[in-house]
């Protein structure tokens, strides 16, 4: 975390609702999530496929694909209301203030333009006054920063002449070329093999230290979260079920879903007889979400009330909150004593 501005909010998301209006009905991909991100903070967003973690990020960028729509809530970035931006404001906001890198670096670069062309273009989209030579110089600096050698030659090459890891480095360079305050990384390591994953993570950590930018790191890999994030939001069925500092999430998980995720993750320090325990059941049908807590049908500690009412958030520690009736119960017991 950076020294300055730690108390200042970079991004504030409040009660965000995103729905997809499909022929089969309304799919509430994101059902009212709230979080803050301070300057220089790295937040992990964890959840399984379809939990709405990517859609939530896309709505910050205004990149929701039709028929997806933000239907409620607010997104405030550096005090500005992002959702009220005009088309032009949104275009100049994207890339300059917030950058995004995606899951699959193999398909994210345009195959018919050189790497240099695509990097320079990202810069010149927001800085009209910069000369082509200066832009190229800057692009080469960025490529060096992300650990690409022989940049002069690499600039003139096409994406198919780069390996997957190298392409992801290019994507990172492209995202950072305009010095954004926030980087949204949508599963940036998922499509890479393990050694490359580690390299890319290392690179992102290094750059984060250097640039002090905020990062929203979307992933389903808890190992990645532990490595790079300051805090974590665990999403299930379009809702944040638990949110807190990274250590609390790992050592004192307060939601059965988080516990389940942790148990299903291989650990180096595990005893040899310990088996991984999967979370039973299937993800929620988002067209017909159940009443009450969405995780209840799969939850081993499910109670009657869980099936009827969505639990409120309970503060279980400093900056650590969880939406689970068990925690509500605990708190009530505490208050009684």
């Amino acid at each position: 975390m950076s020294e300055q501005n730690t108390d200042k909010k970079l991004l504030e998301v409040k009660d965000l609702h995103v729905s997809f209006f499909t022929p089969a009905g309304e799919v509430k991909a994101v059902g009212g999530i709230s979080y803050d991100l301070n300057y220089g903070e790295v937040m992990g967003v964890v959840g399984e496929s379809g939990s709405g973690k990517s859609q939530e990020a896309y709505s910050i960028m205004g990149l929701l694909q039709s028929p997806g729509k933000v239907i409620g809530g607010s997104i405030t970035f550096e005090g500005q209301d992002v959702l009220s931006f005009s088309k032009e404001e949104m275009t100049s906001f994207r890339g300059s203030k917030v950058a995004m890198i995606f899951q699959n670096p193999m398909t994210c670069l345009n195959p018919v333009y050189t790497i240099g062309n695509q990097l320079v273009e990202a810069l010149r989209a927001h800085d009209k006054s910069i000369s082509k030579a200066d832009a190229e110089k800057r692009a080469m600096e960025m490529m060096e920063m992300v650990g690409i050698n022989n940049v002069e030659k690499r600039m003139k090459q096409y994406p198919h002449e780069f390996s997957g890891g190298m392409r992801q480095r290019v994507m990172i360079a492209m995202g950072l070329i305009c010095h954004p305050q926030l980087l949204i990384a949508d599963e940036p390591t998922t499509a890479l093999d393990v050694t490359i994953q580690a390299q890319i993570l290392e690179l992102m950590k290094e750059i984060q230290k250097k640039t002090k930018m905020g990062i929203i790191f979307i992933t389903h890999n808890l190992g990645v979260v532990a490595d790079i994030c300051d805090k974590v939001s665990v999403m299930y069925a379009g809702k944040i079920v638990e949110q807190g500092p990274v250590d609390d999430i790992f050592y004192e998980p307060a939601h059965p879903y988080t516990m389940g995720l942790l148990r299903s993750m291989p650990r180096v320090d595990a005893e040899s007889y310990e088996r991984l325990i999967p979370i039973e059941g299937t993800p929620v049908d988002m067209l017909n979400p159940p009443e009450g807590c969405p995780f209840a049908p799969r939850c081993e500690k499910c109670m009657k009330i869980c099936l009827k009412k969505m639990p409120p958030y309970v503060e279980v520690g400093p900056n650590h909150r969880s939406a689970c009736w068990l925690r509500v119960q605990e708190q009530m017991n505490k208050e009684e004593n």
């Binding site: 960028m61 990149l63 275009t91 100049s92 906001f93 994207r94 890339g95 300059s96 950058a99 995004m100 995606f102 699959n104 398909t107 994210c108 670069l109 345009n110 195959p111 018919v112 333009y113 273009e121 990202a122 989209a125 927001h126 096409y158 198919h160 994507m171 492209m174 995202g175």
Partner: protein
């Protein structure tokens, strides 16, 4: 690269040889002869004419002789339509007329068709897209003589109100006489190009790199015309290559409707008249042109998409 060209030229020669043989044999299999007209000449005259032009010999001997002449660059002379005039000189006179109209027609077809296709893809499912789809389906399903007739009726005095353009093509009248033929000749390729562009654009607009381009904060114009269009060009180029050859060689229907002295009309008339050397000459000319355009298409693939490697199985 030189290996690639050597291979292509070799293949081209084989293709032209096969086209020549096939056309020659089919042409001779069709009943009739160049000498038939309203007044049939006497038996003796026919025999003499056949002997003079070598038509009395068996077909395979005629073919051998024709191929022999072809290698020397001799395409023979017209038997009927412009009697004894060299076929090469006829093509040299007629092709530029067709080519000029064809080039203008294709130019507008591409300049309008490609942007319309992009627009339709960008507005897919919306009103603009539906309107364009109707126009393009109409253009593809309507024969060119219908388009030409509608234009004549509307803009060339058929309704006696608007007489902007002449009914008969006459280069002396300047640009006015080009408008209707070029429009009717280019309407089909325009619609087809628009449709091809639309479907290819729909595909490329769905690619991940478009998402990257949007995330970079590029404007829509740049996303569509720089990032999506270049990736959508391959099918369009594939269609347009041979189409250039066909259109530049003239459309029979349009040339007939507007009385244009072009190659397309002449080609069909030569078949009706069994003017064998003219049929052969124009066929070989068109075949060569198409083959040439296919090489150009290959080279353009490489320009449009740097991943394409012509030397390694780039057929």
């Amino acid at each position: 690269m030189s290996k690639y060209f050597a291979k292509r030229i070799g293949m081209a020669l084989v293709t032209i040889f096969l086209v020549t043989c096939l056309t020659f044999l089919l042409m001779n299999a069709v009943p009739g002869s160049p000498w038939l007209s309203e007044k049939s000449p006497s038996e003796a005259t026919l025999a003499a004419l056949n002997a003079k032009y070598g038509l009395d010999k068996p077909v395979h001997i005629q073919l051998m002789k024709y191929l022999g002449n072809l290698i020397k660059g001799d395409f023979g002379v017209s038997l009927k339509m412009q009697k004894n005039r060299a076929v090469t000189s006829i093509i040299a006179e007629m092709f530029p007329v067709s080519a000029k109209i064809g080039a203008l027609a294709l130019t507008w077809a591409v300049l309008v068709g490609v942007p319309l296709g992009c627009l339709a893809a960008f507005k897919r499912g919306k009103f603009t897209d539906s309107v364009l789809r109707v126009v393009c389906t109409l253009g593809i399903s309507m024969p060119s003589f219908v388009v030409a007739s509608v234009l004549l009726v509307t803009f060339a005095g058929g309704l006696a109100v608007l007489k902007i353009f002449p009914t008969i093509f006459d280069p002396a009248l300047g640009w006015r006489s080009y408008v209707l033929p070029c429009f009717s000749l280019g309407f089909y390729p325009m619609c087809y190009t628009a449709r091809q562009t639309r479907s290819a654009m729909l595909d490329s607009l769905n690619q991940e790199y478009i998402k990257t381009a949007r995330a970079k904060g590029l404007k829509n114009v740049k996303i569509i015309f720089k990032h999506a269009l270049r990736n959508a060009l391959i099918p369009v180029i594939t269609y347009l290559g041979p189409q250039v050859a066909f259109t530049l060689c003239g459309g029979f229907v349009v040339e007939s409707v507007f009385s244009i002295p072009g190659l397309g009309r002449y080609f069909v008339q030569s078949i009706q008249n069994r003017d064998y050397p003219v049929i052969m000459g124009t066929t070989i000319f068109l075949a060569t042109f198409i083959i040439l355009m296919n090489v150009v298409v290959d080279l353009l693939y490489k320009v449009a998409d740097p991943r394409i490697n012509l030397t390694k199985g780039g057929e």
